[in-house]
Subunit: 248 residues, 8 copies
Amino acid sequence: MDKETLRRLLTGVSAGEVPVDEALASLEDLPFKDLGMALIDNHREVRTGAPEVVYGAGKTVGQVREIVGYMLTRDANILVTRATEDMYAAVRELCPEAVYNPLGRTISVRRRLPAETDSYIAIVAAGTSDLPVVEEAAETARMLGNRVEQITDVGVAGIHRLFARLDLIRGAKAVIVVAGMEGALASVLGGLVAKPVIAVPTSVGYGANFGGLAALLSMLNSCASGVSVVNIDNGYGAACCASMINHL
Amino acid sequence: MDKETLRRLLTGVSAGEVPVDEALASLEDLPFKDLGMALIDNHREVRTGAPEVVYGAGKTVGQVREIVGYMLTRDANILVTRATEDMYAAVRELCPEAVYNPLGRTISVRRRLPAETDSYIAIVAAGTSDLPVVEEAAETARMLGNRVEQITDVGVAGIHRLFARLDLIRGAKAVIVVAGMEGALASVLGGLVAKPVIAVPTSVGYGANFGGLAALLSMLNSCASGVSVVNIDNGYGAACCASMINHL
Amino acid sequence: MDKETLRRLLTGVSAGEVPVDEALASLEDLPFKDLGMALIDNHREVRTGAPEVVYGAGKTVGQVREIVGYMLTRDANILVTRATEDMYAAVRELCPEAVYNPLGRTISVRRRLPAETDSYIAIVAAGTSDLPVVEEAAETARMLGNRVEQITDVGVAGIHRLFARLDLIRGAKAVIVVAGMEGALASVLGGLVAKPVIAVPTSVGYGANFGGLAALLSMLNSCASGVSVVNIDNGYGAACCASMINHL
Amino acid sequence: MDKETLRRLLTGVSAGEVPVDEALASLEDLPFKDLGMALIDNHREVRTGAPEVVYGAGKTVGQVREIVGYMLTRDANILVTRATEDMYAAVRELCPEAVYNPLGRTISVRRRLPAETDSYIAIVAAGTSDLPVVEEAAETARMLGNRVEQITDVGVAGIHRLFARLDLIRGAKAVIVVAGMEGALASVLGGLVAKPVIAVPTSVGYGANFGGLAALLSMLNSCASGVSVVNIDNGYGAACCASMINHL
Amino acid sequence: MDKETLRRLLTGVSAGEVPVDEALASLEDLPFKDLGMALIDNHREVRTGAPEVVYGAGKTVGQVREIVGYMLTRDANILVTRATEDMYAAVRELCPEAVYNPLGRTISVRRRLPAETDSYIAIVAAGTSDLPVVEEAAETARMLGNRVEQITDVGVAGIHRLFARLDLIRGAKAVIVVAGMEGALASVLGGLVAKPVIAVPTSVGYGANFGGLAALLSMLNSCASGVSVVNIDNGYGAACCASMINHL
Amino acid sequence: MDKETLRRLLTGVSAGEVPVDEALASLEDLPFKDLGMALIDNHREVRTGAPEVVYGAGKTVGQVREIVGYMLTRDANILVTRATEDMYAAVRELCPEAVYNPLGRTISVRRRLPAETDSYIAIVAAGTSDLPVVEEAAETARMLGNRVEQITDVGVAGIHRLFARLDLIRGAKAVIVVAGMEGALASVLGGLVAKPVIAVPTSVGYGANFGGLAALLSMLNSCASGVSVVNIDNGYGAACCASMINHL
Amino acid sequence: MDKETLRRLLTGVSAGEVPVDEALASLEDLPFKDLGMALIDNHREVRTGAPEVVYGAGKTVGQVREIVGYMLTRDANILVTRATEDMYAAVRELCPEAVYNPLGRTISVRRRLPAETDSYIAIVAAGTSDLPVVEEAAETARMLGNRVEQITDVGVAGIHRLFARLDLIRGAKAVIVVAGMEGALASVLGGLVAKPVIAVPTSVGYGANFGGLAALLSMLNSCASGVSVVNIDNGYGAACCASMINHL
Amino acid sequence: MDKETLRRLLTGVSAGEVPVDEALASLEDLPFKDLGMALIDNHREVRTGAPEVVYGAGKTVGQVREIVGYMLTRDANILVTRATEDMYAAVRELCPEAVYNPLGRTISVRRRLPAETDSYIAIVAAGTSDLPVVEEAAETARMLGNRVEQITDVGVAGIHRLFARLDLIRGAKAVIVVAGMEGALASVLGGLVAKPVIAVPTSVGYGANFGGLAALLSMLNSCASGVSVVNIDNGYGAACCASMINHL
């Protein structure tokens, strides 16, 4: 509630046009409701049809079914990440048009999709083993109304493959780099592309990879500027960042 | 601002007794000022003369001097933790009654001290090398209006010394255990005392102590219930927890 | 055995009223039995009907059945934590009134429950995935005779939800905060509430969460004073701490 | 060199208009020079007056002096990060208009500064101890042609201070959050602001902070979407990311 | 494309012997194709029949089948590492001569094997539990055209067994040491053999082995010179290194 | 082969009493066989009937069966550690008198057992969850010819139980302490007993226990002297150490 | 106080031979004094002239001086470990016969030295950089009444030097192995010697040595049985263990 | 001593041509001297003028002076690594022709240098801050008789600089890659060069670099085959490996 609205309300009370009880109802929980509204405004900016998101990991099939069921009553677009096939079976019963991406482990329900941007997000991946994260990022980005270009299998061990796709990557408004093992692709791309690069380390690898730690540290220490990092395997988070940038 | 206050204000406006601009001034930043007031209330509970606290580490002497100078204008009790002798010299120029605890590395300015509690906090330490943390905790607890009993050098390697002091420890309302190396004292005391135990791991030790990590993990994994833990060497934090409990 | 008791006993021996053998039986294992009695006294403070607790993890169904069977002969209240459904099936055969909390993974047998406190413990959780830890803490706290208020799904990503419940939280005598991922809720609440806050990091999260390490370190480094921490996922331990405080 | 340029060149050679040696000079190192040119183009996008950057840490005063001396011959804007006062003394001899930011440890030489953007980057810091990183980020962002707004001392332990500055933060095109200790500010802001948030963990803290690791893990595990992270204390890197976004 | 080739091409164009379009086709994608060719040359050195390699871990049976099917159309030697029996069943349907090494978890298809070297690689293992890594290394080395000598169960706990095989080890051109637990064999051999030693830590062990970390750190800190290290359990990588050396 | 033996041999050759070929057979592989003999001597000290030991973890049932089968031909006592029930089934087919300890996961074949020592090893355990490690240690110690006394469930959370058993523990020649969680029992016992204490951290615990790391670090940092440590869960290793001491 | 003593005391009271107050004085603090006496007995076993030990690290010169001064009044042998030259200067003023070992950083005051054992402790070190730890161990062992043999510079990189000293090592009753870097010497010796081996990892090394972690993990994972480990650089602790064994 | 030599010796004894004592002198310490001789042979292969090496870190100036003084009596080439200027001053007094490399921190005394190889080792470094490690490697390699080519400042953030030097790198017989921060250069080069690549992670970087850990893990997880790794900052070790390869 901004100052002018508040002044109008008080003037109305002063003039006897607004009963005290009605003004009271508007004001009494102002500290939090207003804050809440701000957040809703805030959300509105992001959304215009943005999906409600459910993080499936650690939830039971029953819990996911119940949450999605509630969301469906609000006619929302819905994205379930880290979803199992069992979760999908349960959701599909509620909503036959739900779609499952088995690689990206996402369930998506598209009701009133936001318009797709003209500009696009490039999602670049080092190897085929990184595809689950790529797909999670791509599903998320699309649900958030972004055009997406996927470029896979351009790891630095065969760097000529990367150069062959450089124009497509440079044309993006934001770049997501998905890489496991030593994650060197983030640094190499960071040096070649003048766009914001969001790096996603993946847990692909073994031994001293320590579940993605090697790629994570590598990306955080990138000698190229313009690279920021999200959590290991967090394709969803990278897509949220990139979508915010792509919608600027 | 509670509902009744708000109703009174609006009734005043409606009755023409409170001008709109005056009401507006009270209300316009309500979301945050009210929240702030809540916090001040909140603080009042804790304080009644509680010190303003400055964390000295990583601050320059000039910064500490400036902050303390400002606090002195508010006639506050002041506690500077992790303070160097240089900081003390600077503060003493501003305020000759400031006191320095060289072991605990605290500067304290006592203006209107809170009444001391009848119940007390026991601060129990494994070894003499833990004394800096003990002193920081004790200074803090006293500045917060607590009676304090210190029991030192009762590490588990000579456990009979601990038993000899058990009655004093059991008589406390809250117990702070300060221990480095393997931090076993927290578990032993947790099993012997039916009072809340706040454990402070210290960085005392060497080799695979890893700067207090050994004691920290040991305390977090205590097989005795009723033990909670604060950060390594964080005597100040332990005293805040214990003081809250002691003032219940 | 205090000094007066001892004097009375010796006076009785001296006066021929107490046979030497009877006195001997009272005294011979004094070093340890007395200590044991102290501990039992100690325990008595805590209990007045407190449950016997079995930590189920790493035990076989047979072991749990045997231990519970023995406890039942002592007519104790019983709490089994980290209990599987199989353990419950075995216990229910011995004791049909045993109750299983599948989310909290606890089995509870309530025989002579302690009176519930007037004051209450607030258990505040960041997300629905933290519920197993919340339920373990709540079951434990109730078995220890505490009134409990649960506030869930108030993570800092939607901080207005937290503010809406702040009064309930501030009314508690002790606050348990349960949060995974980055565990920021502990710091935020620590800054808003002037009561002892016991933080439980959970292993909820993925990637660089490292099984709860991120939340644990976050909570230990809380910039808010008055926050102490227990082990990852240790709802039981947090409830023991909070119960001790709540019974002061 | 695109296809049409190449065709024109070859047609010129074929027609005898372009001597073979001249064509050869254009083509012989094509694989790399062209790539280099692409990178220069690439750089041009970023720059239009962007500074040459020298990372001062681990370099001797002599090395910094030599590098800056060379850059001055190219009439470049120059930014030295992690610069000591000694480095500044050496640089000022070469270039009296060089400016030293002692808090941010930067030396800057402004020759042909890029036009400042209308949109701005908000740099939000939890505590005064984070100021060195804030200043490094602010210096860098300004040298890259960005309007900057700094909001400091809004840590989550006193969250009302943050709310009071929320409008300013929300008005930014990109937000840099600088926080040490538990780094919770990133998550809280990530939940309140619908703009890309770049989080910089700082090494401020002690004990189980492990040189910024606590804040780093906390930020990587942020439960708020739209938060990406750079290396500990890397104000420079955060500003590069934010500048790329702010210039979109 | 070297300078002379380029000059000949341009001279041809200038002389009208090479049509512009033909020259254009050779040159237009020079930056990347040339680079690619370099890599192919590069590869040719290594190969002359070297296998195409598929890293099986994290791939589905279907993916492996598809990749191998494509490779078979190119008549390549094929090596699948970290292959399951299910993968082998799928590959054997496509190619009955495929061979599975159950210990080394490799599938190999030998079409036009490279000539075996006269010099050999010694693969020395501490214990029988290290055999899977040994077998992976041996399969890889053989597929790359190397003579291989395997020496197993010569761990330092019974060092006389190692001495009995020392001549065979010293006769090799490159030595691969495979050891888990404390990995001391690498240091001992490094001190006894004047040939390049490539150490492979294995994840064999338990407790504070931390999945091979103990052996990894041990080998990296070897007091013997001439020892370099590859990732934990990375028999494939060690064989690639050793094969490069053995083919010098 | 000591100098006198060698002189006798050579004198025999010189005198024609020992044929050259016979002397050659004794000497030709002297560098290693002698070393081997030394080791066998070495072993003889330990053994006089000591078991051959097979580490079962990471071995297949077939491998264990084969190894044990070979050992049986040498009429050895046999100890298989980390043995599964399947391994036992396979071994029992070869050797019906083999005995399985399901808790300690050991298979033992006793043929010519060494005489039991008069002095004994005390194996002291904190909790019932540590029993598998206790049993592994006890089985091993007994197979090595030691009298063993087991004292369990004397964790420091109920320290009076420990004191009640102190005489038995102090009577031992070597003490093995087995404890998980925070491992404080090792320090407490180290302070109470003047005998060599070998501490075995166990992986019992959860959360920040990190698979036994907490207990391991705790024990390594023990403030009590006379405590040395073996690997996490390594009951076998502790028994070997204790047996060596007990046989002195 | 054993049962018979107690019976005699009570009989005396019953017979009027022992006044109640005298009996009371003997009994009232029995739980702790008796325990204390037990410990003193316990200590007596160890000592017979054993030194009082002061851990100098983290203590001020003044504190060391005060503690040693007090000890001198008790005419004790004194050992200060991790002592600086300044500490020595202060101690020498009090006690001119104090001796400083600059390499081992020990101050020793020998008053009534215990008789030296016939059997000896072998202290074996990998490199000259390990000498400070060797010297600390040797000083400690000698102050505890042990004959000591030092064998240095026998690291595994030149393993023949170790073999040349093997007889001397094998003749010891307990063996201390001191090694940094990869610490392989412990495993090698553990396989060659049938005596208890106490391994001391040292912080000698760099890079991925991580302050002794590499050697520590290596030694804990030793494939040789009979090896136990103390904290990094803890020569004092190793000597205490070895002395206990050597005095059996 | 091979079998034929042994037979000849024994035949000589049998024939009375070789006195028993003479034979005895040859044989009595055969186990170790022979082994030692083997090692010396072994060394001879490496050396032919190879330097004696002193690792300066952790040694006093006096110790270095003494060791070098002894080596000079043997007329050896000498290399001191991690040497301070003070060490150099001390060495120069003994040997005026000693040369100090202040960047590489090496002292070298060249007496009878080995012939330089025709083939060369390429030492490739990412940034100027890596130069100390480069120089240590280069000094070492030259002292071992290798031709060396240094290529610096070719980090992946400006990858075109690397391509411009690729021919020189590919021409080497062994390649040393020196890189800090994220160490991506090792992977990129590993994919471009068909020669053995020895990667040296450096401690250059800050924050989550953790003293070189980021680069170390990155290099160990390299997606390019043919890359092996030595310890952080271990230029000396890399040069030893490369020299062995270069001399094959």
